[in-house]
Symmetry: D2
Subunit: 226 residues, 4 copies
């Protein structure tokens, strides 16, 4: 009896251990959009639903690591505590909106050369630990489709930089900006600056969270999610 | 003999008087682009050449009234001295670049509502004197063609405002911004930020001055220049 | 009887007419501080109370002409409709805070040279009509007393400009900035950024409205109010 | 003979080795002021002269680590390569001007909370290695003495932050801002914005470099330099 119990315990421990070993961790690293993304109806929850629907939920743990107002160098400063300490298998970086936006609102945006430099430094640290890195282009500041949102020029430039950084580091890019622009071209006939995928031109509404979750799932299921 | 001479003198005076009366004045009202436009190889000189080529030079006097750094409200403040005092028949307004640009460089750009309000006030004063008013959209701050020039979004918005102001006031618009974008799409295959129509992304080079002169001639010859 | 009544009516009309002729108009021309100043408990109301207390209320009509967000050039644009049309005997100008503040919040503050130019143009128009002009220095953006309010340097510069403009135009200056700084030095021992004379660092609380009314009364009673 | 030579060689090697062990390294970590400070007539050279005059030159190695345009987070990003790799005994940090200045010139200054956070992170890394840390307050952006330099308010705030960070981390502060203000009060009677200690309001002239060297020598000779 005692032996059987011991074996049972051992087996269950082994089983749970096995589960723990195979449950892959994906950290979502970003700003307020990602902070909200970890909440109810957020894009991380929506992605979890997509995994559940595909019967993949048991194999992946999705972890939100978004803090409101963050810019690229904020991510760099807190990546040890908030990302590396969690030993993730993959990190999805969704940053850049505040780096552009804060130039206008408080004079504290990020210079393009610093944006690149800190982004590369983050990727280097992740790659050294064999963590898969996915880069998202910054989505929108204003949903108008004719490039008359005040910061469209600068945001296009930072999106282009993210694509180049991804290429140079051989990382997959989740091109949210292009996906948003394509979606809005069709779904924003009245050229509104908010209300289609966002509540305020930046932060995702329900449709926006589902949209982003789907974009991320599409990208990660190409190689990482199986 | 004496009588004949007197009649001849009288006739010549009358003739010159007649010429003076019919020589129509066109004031070009703007910023540094227009200030340079009045210089050698400037767009105002180039337009004079176009008039000469068409044998229309004797009928029109072209007057530069551009001052470096000017924004819409600067034009309003100095319009009595620099425009109305010259009793022009037509005024071509080419303004808006500094209203956008100075937001970034010195924190002293122009709010959209003020831009509209001062523009309308200028047009009102000109129309009250039966002066023909032509509105130019602000051309470019950076010549890149994929809307990644930092201020493209804001500049697109101000160009759209100028089109609306022109429409609301029943004034012809000289859509320099659209003309520049169309020209650059074809003539800037390497997506450079300067060097095609400008020296520095804003101020016109020789080709740019010729290009602007042609755009203005096209617009004015529709009704004003005959 | 009838004749007596007619004489009485005539006399009363004459009397009221006399009063109307001697009631001097003072326009308060400014931004949101002045817009609020015309409301209940506002500084214009407080100044009216001071006049009443001195039995001078019948001789002066105080008129608020403040609009939220106004900068110096906004005053210039609307001065015909909002000031000259009222045929004032005196105008108290209280402007400059947004000219500095909006540099930071929206990139649309006012360059120093434009501030001077538009201010001088306003004064010229008023003086041409023999209107007495009083200039207020911009009070505060933040109430801290050690010059660590973010915009203190720039605001000090604009206050200095107002003093110079007043001197050059031979106008009395109501030096609110200096009066505020002196008052705060004594009454803000904890170096708070708001709550002594303002609600938010800029807009006047009850104490601030009384304080400003007193400053203005002091200045105007030197020569204008008798 | 041979033995004697060997002993002599051994002794000289030992001597030089001894010297190498005792020569303490001081890294000067900062922006363009420090980059220029390492050049001829720069403040680092001037401090070397002070050490020579006191016969202390042999015991200290002064190393410049300034890069033009640097802000606090730039120091953090490059501190491993540019400071820690040099195994310094002391680090003098002279930063903060661009963190304030770039808000105005390019919209890319540093938020106060980030300034503190990155500054603390740098100090933590240095203290963990038992490196002595000296904090300089940011000197000046404009030399006018009546707090009318445009950015005085903000710069005063960042200087106050540096004093607080120094106190909280138990580090000596070299209060350059206060020293500059005191010096200018006496030596800038015409209230010029440049030319006393700087060439352009920010970068040190010859007098400024000597002045800074003296301030630093005074601070370091209290405990570090003996």
């Amino acid at each position: 009896m005692k032996t059987n119990l011991a074996i049972l315990l051992l087996l269950s421990l082994f089983a749970s251990g096995f589960t723990m070993q195979t449950k892959k961790k994906i950290v979502f690293f970003g700003d307020s959009i990602t902070q909200q993304g970890a909440g109810a109806d957020g894009y991380i929850k929506k992605m979890d639903s997509l995994l559940t629907a595909k019967n993949q939920s048991a194999n992946y743990e999705l972890i939100g690591a978004g803090i409101s107002g963050n810019k690229i160098y904020d991510l760099y400063l807190r990546m040890d505590a908030d990302v590396l300490a969690k030993s993730p298998d993959a990190v999805v970086i969704y940053i850049g909106i505040n780096d552009v936006w804060h130039k206008r609102t408080s004079g504290t945006g990020t210079d393009p050369d610093r944006f690149e430099r800190f982004y590369n430094a983050i990727i280097k640290k992740l790659k050294e630990r064999n963590i898969a890195v996915y880069l998202c282009t910054p989505s929108v500041i204003g949903e108008k489709t004719d490039f008359t949102n005040q910061l469209d020029g600068d945001l296009n430039q930072y999106a282009a930089m993210v694509r180049n950084i991804a290429k140079a580091n051989n990382c997959p890019v989740i091109d949210l900006r292009q996906a948003f622009l394509d979606h809005l071209k069709t779904n924003n006939p009245e050229n509104n600056d908010r209300g289609v995928l966002t509540t305020d031109g930046v932060h995702l509404n329900r449709t926006g969270n589902i949209f982003v979750a789907q974009q991320m799932y599409n990208a990660l299921s190409k190689d990482f999610i199986k």
